[in-house]
Symmetry: D2
Amino acid sequence: MSGNSFGKLFTVTTFGESHGLALGAIIDGCPPGLELSEADLQKDLDRRRPGKNRYETQRKEPDEVQILSGVFEGKTTGTPIGLQIMNTDQRSKDYSNIKDLYRPAHADYTYMQKYGVRDYRGGGRSSARETAMRVAAGAVAKKYLAQECGIQVRAYLSQLGPIKIEQFDWDEVENNAFFCPDANKVPEMEKFMAGLKGNSIGAKISVVATGMIPGLGEPIFDRLDADLAHALMGINAVKGVEIGAGFDSVEQLGTEHRDEITPDGFLSNRAGGVLGGISTGQDLIAHIALKPTSSMHIPGRSVNVQGEPVEVVTKGRHDPCVGIRATPIAEAMMALVLMDHLLRHRGQNGSVQHDIPVIPPQA
Amino acid sequence: MSGNSFGKLFTVTTFGESHGLALGAIIDGCPPGLELSEADLQKDLDRRRPGKNRYETQRKEPDEVQILSGVFEGKTTGTPIGLQIMNTDQRSKDYSNIKDLYRPAHADYTYMQKYGVRDYRGGGRSSARETAMRVAAGAVAKKYLAQECGIQVRAYLSQLGPIKIEQFDWDEVENNAFFCPDANKVPEMEKFMAGLKGNSIGAKISVVATGMIPGLGEPIFDRLDADLAHALMGINAVKGVEIGAGFDSVEQLGTEHRDEITPDGFLSNRAGGVLGGISTGQDLIAHIALKPTSSMHIPGRSVNVQGEPVEVVTKGRHDPCVGIRATPIAEAMMALVLMDHLLRHRGQNGSVQHDIPVIPPQA
Amino acid sequence: MSGNSFGKLFTVTTFGESHGLALGAIIDGCPPGLELSEADLQKDLDRRRPGKNRYETQRKEPDEVQILSGVFEGKTTGTPIGLQIMNTDQRSKDYSNIKDLYRPAHADYTYMQKYGVRDYRGGGRSSARETAMRVAAGAVAKKYLAQECGIQVRAYLSQLGPIKIEQFDWDEVENNAFFCPDANKVPEMEKFMAGLKGNSIGAKISVVATGMIPGLGEPIFDRLDADLAHALMGINAVKGVEIGAGFDSVEQLGTEHRDEITPDGFLSNRAGGVLGGISTGQDLIAHIALKPTSSMHIPGRSVNVQGEPVEVVTKGRHDPCVGIRATPIAEAMMALVLMDHLLRHRGQNGSVQHDIPVIPPQA
Amino acid sequence: MSGNSFGKLFTVTTFGESHGLALGAIIDGCPPGLELSEADLQKDLDRRRPGKNRYETQRKEPDEVQILSGVFEGKTTGTPIGLQIMNTDQRSKDYSNIKDLYRPAHADYTYMQKYGVRDYRGGGRSSARETAMRVAAGAVAKKYLAQECGIQVRAYLSQLGPIKIEQFDWDEVENNAFFCPDANKVPEMEKFMAGLKGNSIGAKISVVATGMIPGLGEPIFDRLDADLAHALMGINAVKGVEIGAGFDSVEQLGTEHRDEITPDGFLSNRAGGVLGGISTGQDLIAHIALKPTSSMHIPGRSVNVQGEPVEVVTKGRHDPCVGIRATPIAEAMMALVLMDHLLRHRGQNGSVQHDIPVIPPQA
């Protein structure tokens, strides 16, 4: 595989540049018999879509996804599902200002060093626009996991720059533009964003799968937590991934960290739902750090393709915090990982009959 | 692939349980013509080997690796390299105390739920003993990278429980049992370990590749940073991975985070050497959090395979800090990732002639 | 991967059903810098397209391929190439006659047993229509191989039912509707086809790559000949694959079969250009057997999905010999195999300097 | 993957050269709970082992396989199974006669062109000795398929040079050194072999899986027949692969080829048990052509590594017909393909409930 495919049994391959004709994806390996229509995908695409509020890029595109194959009479057939979103906003603009220079903290320079050429329009393939397809594919996985196994994958913003959430209510997450589960923090966040004055800010997103089943994951390299780290670190702008207690583990004593077990269930979940790379049945919990948006209105120093010094400034409107929109993307990536491991588990252990008592997720 | 293989072009597959007959690995895809002997691997195996000091498990095994194939007249031939370490210390012991119960924070329960059966002797496949083979394979990658590209991969302990390093000297790392680059902190660490009294502690390891070349990595899913996160999160006990600024990015402003560029080089390296999933040529920097050792002398609550409550205590000696020994393992995993991406890059872009000025790693 | 992807470094993934909205493919791993436009693909699509003459199915579709991504300013960028052909002829028809029964020698029954559901319109995913995407992707590989390495991949009809070619002229292949290199046989073939009266007939296609380079292929499982067998046997209706002397080898003596070598070149090519799974630099030669078209006007016995006996007859027009149109498909598949092995070879052995004399392809 | 791995969910990776220290393999993905011991593997290894009769190479090695991991208390645990055979007959010999020249029809030249170096001792990695590991791994698959699904994989010699079998009795196959199911032909074969006088001869092997289940295989690229062609063409010396009617299909009419169906079963099996790449439940049937042994006592022309003309003659004893010993290898490869597809099928369609009548294999 050449870098644009994800998953071994539930495989998603994507194509498309920010300002090309279309974005597309092929989902290969979706089990047959799942009821599926564009509406199932559109909901998450709308959550991810920019331009929903004044803190996000004003690119206005409907991002209407079309299912081109793999669904017949309303159900998946087991054959590959072709997905497509036409780019309606890719009309030719003047890119002469970025064509020949490297925007700091962008992929401009690295693409040139890798390929010797780049589609400079809107960042080309490196644009976060590509994540629309991950969200669409993830929506298929989310539906299957929920319907077949009762697994629900959700995410929320746990920190915006210096502002950390203090209260938690899943119901609040969809009630504000920040995916913030603490309604009290929303005004503070709004004020913070308004004060950025062309600068940008980082964020922290938490992703949780509830209703988990034990036994998912492979022991050595393809561990559930390792595959999750791969999936989440692969989201644009992510610089860190934690499972469960994450970096807090560094200062914890063994007696603090270990999740003791009683017949009534686990007494804590510092493991984040994974032991030895395999799910425990507890909630699967991950946190990711997203860097501040690289495009901003404050000029920065860089060089052009000839190596000469230039000053770079991003015109137009951009998200001052890309982290916010990463919420549905993170859900999608966790769902893709779980879906793949579910199918792999079934493949290898399908006929194994376990007569082993299951420990409840929590006491 | 079924979970025990790593890499696409430079592929490492391992086998072996803690108390089975042997550990082994196959390296498939090593370029021909590399001078290689057991001594090249043994050096890192000795660094990883337990029993070197009083803070580590007293399992005494020479861990002598044997190259069974793929090397002819002192050089690699391009065919698979078979590696093997015989387990000499696997004499039958009494495991009746752990056979039927689940040690908290171990993989005992999850293996049972996944497979319906487990090799309970010393943790079986889930034992950190398996990492010996990763270190052996990583040593091959390290040698190739150093010799062919001048890339050097090294790691060090950056934090032991609450003790953070304050000074940095690569030369100190191999001078103490902690892989600690700050000689002044070593006495403090020794004292801390002595005071654990049967408890255990977490740690933080930092891994760095210097002499990097730009252009390694694939843009979307198989990003260099995503593959690195996969590799490092897959090490036993790791709960978090950061690239460059990592979780500090959450509170950074865009102007703080972006690494500005001048004709003399990058002005900072908060990106950790990766932009858009592709290497910049700056140092590649990652940090990992390791949880405290799960085996400890302080009793804990758990259940047995029948679901009844039991008290668990680990007898014998164990590392109170598994993080320390993870240092050479982390180097190995970063080396395996870089080696694979080097070959992939060559494959796709081998004939591309770049006439593009390279930005120096730092100004 | 889940069955709809081909290749490891030059990876083609396809989607689409015969009567769905569209066919599509993603080519992942195409090297950057290749000049590419729809015209490069359309030529081979037109060669494959049915309806060119009266011996082929009268489905009339332009099969116009569109490149949706991966090409910028006329050149490939190294990012995935999205391809699409809209199905313009998929208007709803009456499929009630085949909906609930299994056509003999078709995939109707096996799809039902595999998936429990099938898109019965025109065979759904099992239709040879899907091969349009292989031809499109193969055209990219063919262009790269020709331009970068001077390798030319071509195929021809070597037998139609009982009629074997006796003379050979590459220039004749494109001059007749049969891809027949022996102009003298064309009238005989036309007469034979006219005499089929609703029945169908098998065929044999030969595929040849000239201008080969030695050293392509992996030794054990991913041999060049094994991968070629996989690629060619995967074409609809193919029942046999030969490399070089093929089944003639069974009755050959060692002294007859071995291709002796002189400083002026190989004295014969019974190996078909592969020894030990690796190319010799001689022409790469394969032959494939294609079964007679399964759809025909002569009624046959079968059962319906309830297991009751039915009589099946195919209405409308169909190719009486699917083998003919397989000619460009076979070229495409050989080109995809060679392209993948070229990139793999470069990846593993890119830096190896061979100072070894090359044996000319023939004396 | 780099060429020495086979299978996606049931993955076999091998290492080892003819005259290296050992041969080995890792089977990754074997379901847990299968009773397994060395004896299960040894039986097929003994069938493959040379030196059983005077028509085969006199290399005398016990080929004793050892299971190093993955089996605990007599059952597989789901973790990788490490296999090893020590080379006991690899004592240093004088290879100066072949070190610097290319034996015609061997892989000597192609390895040099690929790698720039080769282990010339006994053919190194290209020796058929490597197939011992395929046979060992195949034995695991054969046992699982038989025990879990009732699928039996067997092979026989269907032609030796010009001598074709006329009668068929499975019970005779193991009664003679030729794996010949026609006892009457055995004396003729013995006489033919005795008359070869240092020359060698080709052979044809047929492989059959009985007790098949319908629904195995993926539709487009990873078809059951395509994967089988890959597996079988990858056996040393194989030059052709047929499924079912194979090359006879070329001259068949549609009415002859199609396997009509009645409620009592299929009326014929020209498809060889596969339609649209997916198993029908009928016997899975393949035939392979093997070229005459390349090593023979009759001198042939070649060149040395400097490109100068030389005469090559193989000393010592060699199989005059490598095809005979390929019988258990062909079984192993078919078993590996079926095993992999069984696990893949379970993975994708594990929860699908088919309520569709199954057509009996034959009426």
